[in-house]
Subunit: 430 residues, 2 copies
């Protein structure tokens, strides 16, 4: 038997990078004992000299020293962002190195291109760490559920927003206060836009949809909504109706149509997803053989992500050593279309802000009825007849297009004082 | 590139076997498209002629025709039970065939021997279908969480007993009626002993502990308790206290000590495991990098299990094609000891059946105190002073040995009318 040694270069030693390096070194022996493979970190690069200083034995001043090192088999890219990461990864593949990355942003944009080049050069790409931290959802979808036709993926994929929504629910605070708490605990970046806008979730659901259904759709083509418009009053009314509000990445397949969207959702309190609190993540998956399944775990933090990065490194090392290249294809059986957002059908939660006088409900209901939207239940609480009051409505399934039209008409009524709040429902029963 | 064809022989075409055969055939094309590998079923055997008749093109009259066929690469063993399965598997390995099996009973008994022989012959063993149906917990523990020190595994691993406990909770029926419902819906075998006694769960937690911590302990050495002593009154009191009763397989590691046990458990209502209803399964796993994670899915049924069997077949096919044999070892870092059940420490739920007269609680409390068991809370409801009434107690952490001693003394008191019911608590907060 040949000596089984795999050499690794690491680009980026921030939170995830340093956690990966430290954990891999401390677990090197047990990994060798169980797999027979010796994993060596040869070189580490970071543009930040202070971070790099902690790894004096491995530190290199230039990423090219890793990319061009013939002894390095796997490049672990943990610098994040788009530009440099893309350049380094493509150059490394060109030099016949396999890649492990946790970069969902990059993958959602250049995933297909990167995979094409990897196949050409007969190297491997691992990206378990890119979605849902420690939860091995990539492997589950790519390998464990391979015999399935997957029909639905619902994910709480962003720890920051889930933490904020949990804080709002438990402490009765508003979005801004929730965001403040997230920053205080280090769960939100200095610029948390990518998280709260829903775009981080979007990158992740695009990656999951890609590996599941075989086509990587562009983020510009899907509807993405964040949590900044959620108010405590909606969280309370949702709770009264038996729901929790969560930000979900949603992927569905019906025939050759794929539906991908990101927005806050009312989830029944009895659904396992609605119990996922704080920075935790969870992914709910439905398929023809598996039925309904759910995977829950820590969505953020260096250790959680490095657990996934380590498992990718081990998997790819086994493949490198086995020599015969096994192609990996994410293929769709047929050509897939992205369902226009206006065509989706779901139940809705509306919060109207209306003057409390007779006939208001009749006016609203008339417009809804005219647009084929049928009402499931209404909560209207006596408040101050002088002031505008909230009217809460749940609907039966309706078409997004009709809802937009109806709400734009309703919001023009002189009895309506604020733009109506629209939150979609998701009612999978487990 | 060589032609990538892997040939399969199937032993047993009952529920899981026939589901596997049908699903593999219908998914053959898409598997070939994504992996490049052609999976062919060459031969099928079952001792039941009527079952076998459905697969005329593949049917063979004798298992030896599969075991001795040089063209067959993987033998899928789905006959279950111990004796024949063991014989066929060992013979197949001898003939250098890889094995896929869903047989937890067999693995919990002969797993180490089977793996030793497989390594000797350089073949592979897949057993994802043996634990928790469609949930890929074997792969998660063996591959995804490889970089972790796993400290805790708690599993709802038996669909039948979980279904019965769910029925008892929701319908207020007793164990016998619950079992009757399970039989009616086809969720219980004609002889459900292995399920309700907890032994099926025991085989599964032994397999999970083995692949996680590297030692396969014998079922005779662990404490196994079923659900037949659970009464509606306990389910109700548990609910009043904020708990659900579930049958868990429990594996824990602390230093070099492993704790493995199976018994009903009071779980906080807020724990994700307590929301797993009906025939579903779930496994909760804790590790140093991943933190807390949970995997939920269908635990029973042909489709669920065949999803796992198919993924094993694909994984092993990739390995077979890659030629270089990659050893698989489940190793412990150090020698492990099984913690004696008497030494475990946990919180307890007691239900005493006592005559309702002054001084009873004092007598019980005295004995508990003398044995270092400290009371957390008591429920005693006024009922009929003539009759025996239930007294419910939750304790702080206590030692099993002390509990057994105290309860045996308490049960001898003349004010105690029935043997005391003891249920252990498990309070992991997520």
């Amino acid at each position: 038997m040949n000596k089984k040694i795999v050499n690794i270069g690491v680009l980026g030693c921030g939170t995830v990078g340093s956690s990966f390096i430290n954990n891999l070194i401390s677990k090197q022996k047990i990994i060798k004992k169980t797999t027979g493979i010796e994993l060596n970190i040869l070189k580490v690069f970071d543009k930040d000299k202070y971070k790099l200083e902690r790894y004096k034995n491995f530190a290199v001043k230039n990423p090219e020293e890793i990319i061009n090192d013939e002894n390095i088999d796997i490049v672990v890219e943990l610098i994040g962002g788009i530009d440099y990461a893309y350049e380094f990864i493509m150059k490394s593949i060109e030099k016949r190195k396999s890649i492990v990355t946790a970069n969902k942003y990059l993958l959602s944009k250049y995933g297909e291109e990167i995979f094409k080049k990897a196949k050409e050069k007969k190297v491997y790409i691992g990206f378990e760490g890119s979605v849902a931290g420690a939860i091995p959802v990539i492997k589950v979808l790519k390998e464990s559920f391979m015999g399935n036709k997957i029909t639905k993926i619902l994910g709480i994929l962003n720890g920051t927003t889930n933490f904020i929504l949990s804080e709002m629910f438990y402490k009765g605070i508003n979005f801004k206060e929730g965001l403040g708490m997230a920053k205080k605990f280090g769960y939100a970046e200095a610029n948390p836009h990518l998280d709260i806008s829903g775009y981080d979730t979007a990158h992740k659901i695009l990656v999951l949809s890609w590996i599941t259904w075989g086509h990587l759709f562009s983020v510009e083509k899907i509807s993405v909504e964040g949590i900044d418009k959620i108010e405590p009053i909606d969280i309370n009314f949702a709770s009264e109706l038996g729901y929790r509000i969560k930000l979900l990445g949603i992927g569905k397949k019906e025939n050759n149509q794929i539906e991908i969207r990101v927005h806050p959702v009312l989830l029944p309190r009895t659904h396992l997803l609605s119990l996922v609190e704080g920075v935790n993540n969870a992914v709910y998956i439905e398929g023809d053989l598996i039925g309904k399944s759910l995977f829950y775990g820590e969505g953020a933090g260096g250790n959680a992500a490095s657990s996934s990065v380590i498992s990718d490194v081990i998997d790819i090392s086994k493949k490198i050593i086995s020599k015969e290249y096994i192609e990996e294809n994410f293929l769709s059986e047929k050509k897939l279309n992205l369902k226009p957002f206006d065509e989706i059908e779901t139940k809705y939660y509306f919060r109207f802000t209306a003057i409390d006088k007779p006939g208001v409900l009749a006016k609203i209901s008339k417009i809804l009825g005219d647009n084929n939207i049928s009402i499931l239940s209404v909560i209207q609480k006596q408040d101050n007849p002088q002031k505008a009051v909230p009217i809460i409505m749940l609907t039966h399934k309706a078409k997004e297009k009709n809802v937009k039209k109806a709400i734009s008409l309703i919001d023009k009524l002189d009895v309506i004082k604020n733009p109506t709040i629209i939150i979609r429902l998701e009612e999978e029963l487990m």
